[in-house]
């Protein structure tokens, strides 16, 4: 089967995942509504520290309040996307790997890694994407920023690379379950450390900045896009982000295949 055919089939498979999620959420409406509600609480709570911070000063390391608010909005959108399409799956990794549910996946003629990473979708989390977008718009307006189409494209590409990178790092961390038992804490830790992304990278000391750019690459997902929108990143960070995203994807795939080899050698 050609690569094109393979990609098409996996996209069709993903479409079925999505349709099923819609079917399920129309059935369990309470959960859907609750998720949206929690998303709003989350956004509100995330804005409180910003509001407190800028009650004492007009600018921190060159960032104004409105700019940081726009950043928080981007952060909500990014975490919303991850929470919708990626988080529900990575939380189940121990079930797949430690409880043998992976067996049912491995014998299908589809990519096991694709299935395991994208099977489940929590549609209610998309609410955060909407509310986040609103906050971004408000922040940009109050900051007086007028991004032109090129800025917006750059921001979107940066967000895309950030999403890919974060997914790769997060899934790679969950793949540790192939070798060591019980790593449910991993996902929690990842999400907790990722909350640093709701503040501009500039707020942190140099070492931490490096960590947040290359180890847990939330910088590409939040700070850089925010900077792009408030008028100021060249094409190099964008290319860098895309390049890193590609490297990350390849590394994650290699790690998965390494894990599978261990899985298929181990006992029942």
């Amino acid at each position: 089967m050609s690569s094109y055919g393979k990609v098409r089939r996996h996209l069709r498979l993903w479409r079925r995942f999505f349709v099923q999620a819609v079917v399920r959420d129309t059935h369990y409406r309470a959960h859907f509504v609750a998720t949206i509600g929690v998303g709003i609480v989350e956004l509100t709570m995330a804005l409180i520290p910003v509001w407190l911070l800028f009650g004492y000063t007009g600018s921190v390391r060159g960032w104004s309040r409105s700019e940081v608010i726009a950043l928080v909005g981007i952060y909500q959108m990014v975490t919303g996307v991850l929470a919708t399409f990626v988080a529900p799956n990575l939380g189940r990794m121990t079930n797949y790997i430690s409880h043998g549910e992976l067996d049912g996946v491995l014998l299908r003629p589809v990519s096991g890694q694709f299935y395991v990473t994208f099977r489940w979708i929590d549609l209610g989390q998309l609410g955060s994407v909407v509310t986040g977008a609103v906050v971004v718009a408000l922040g940009l307006a109050r900051a007086g920023a007028t991004p032109d189409p090129s800025d917006i494209v750059r921001a979107l590409l940066l967000i895309l690379s950030g999403l890919v990178l974060l997914t790769c790092v997060w899934s790679a961390l969950t793949f540790i379950a192939f070798w060591v038992q019980v790593v449910a804490m991993v996902g929690e830790t990842f999400v907790t450390v990722m909350t640093a992304g709701q503040y501009p990278l500039a707020f942190f000391p140099r070492l931490v900045r490096g960590f947040l750019t290359f180890a847990l690459p939330v910088a590409f997902a939040t700070t850089l896009p925010a900077q792009a929108l408030t008028g100021g990143v060249g094409w190099w960070p964008v290319l860098g982000g895309l390049g890193l995203a590609l490297v990350g994807a390849l590394a994650a795939r290699a790690f998965w295949q390494l894990g599978l080899r261990t899985y298929a050698s181990a006992s029942s």
């Binding site: 609750a34 998720t35 407190l52 390391r61 038992q181 019980v182 909350t195 503040y199």
Partner: protein, 257 residues
């Protein structure tokens, strides 16, 4: 029971590497952000020493008063695994407490070097109190704080007696508590007009109050009022918890397993 719990917890040793990171991540992030604010010339009502000391102590206190049983309790209720416990709720309570304490013991052991590390990194600004009285007052406030969180968690988990999906509510409570307990921003940094509210609300007594005792920012009068409020909240929540549990069991049995 605690020894057996400890043993099974050792098996999860890999999890504790990540646990350390998880516990100190939020306080460290907040600390760095506020230090950046100070460096940018913000005029805060507190200084750098206070901030650093506050967050270092916080990373221990928030772990020490934490509870994680709500989702598990909800699931057990939903799956009908509680039939035995309902006849002997005392033993369920015993098991939940034992699990809570044994894990915390282990987490303390693992957390100590981590906090030591933090102390070294921020050595110039950490000022732990030497006054033994404050430490003596710290301990009961910590215990009461733990009881408060534990009981609130039991109540949240018990909502599963009536609701199918408690996940959202549990998470919402955690989000709100994080802010109001001073875990994200020290309560001292809330604007003056909110001072009365933040000082009186119950979440302060889950984390912030014990930390405030150690940082020495409270007058004797404030400590006394604080303890009175804390004890009052603990009592109220325990009574509420007992009532909710019983109502839940009654509702549960009415429907049948």
């Amino acid at each position: 029971m605690t020894a057996a719990d400890l043993a099974s917890n050792l098996v999860y040793r890999s999890a504790f590497v990540f646990f350390m990171l998880n516990t100190i991540a939020v306080p460290v992030i907040s600390l760095l952000v506020w230090r950046a604010a100070l460096a940018s010339g913000a005029h805060l009502p507190v200084n750098r020493e206070y901030l650093t000391t506050y967050f270092v102590i916080l990373s221990f206190v928030s772990m020490a008063t934490s509870s994680w049983l709500a989702p598990f309790l909800s699931e057990d209720i939903r799956l009908g695994k509680l039939s035995i416990w309902m006849i002997r709720p005392a033993s369920l309570l015993h098991e939940l407490v034992a699990n809570n304490l044994s894990e915390k013991l282990l987490k303390t052991v693992i957390l100590v070097p981590m906090i030591g590390g933090l102390w070294l990194i921020f050595a110039d600004s950490v000022r732990l109190p030497t006054d033994p009285v404050r430490w003596m007052l710290f301990v009961p406030s910590l215990v009461l704080g733990a009881v408060l969180v534990f009981t609130m968690d039991v109540i949240m988990g018990s909502l599963a007696f009536w609701l199918d999906d408690t996940g959202g509510l549990i998470r919402a409570r955690v989000l709100i508590a994080d802010v109001l307990s001073g875990s994200i921003v020290p309560l001292a940094l809330f604007p003056a007009w909110l001072h009365g509210f933040v000082t009186a609300q119950p979440f302060r007594f889950t984390v912030s109050f014990p930390v405030e005792i150690l940082t020495g920012q409270l007058s004797p009068h404030a400590i006394a009022t604080g303890f009175a409020l804390q004890a009052g909240y603990v009592l109220a929540v325990c009574v509420a918890g007992w009532a909710v549990w019983n109502a839940g069991v009654r509702a549960y049995s009415a429907v049948g397993v």
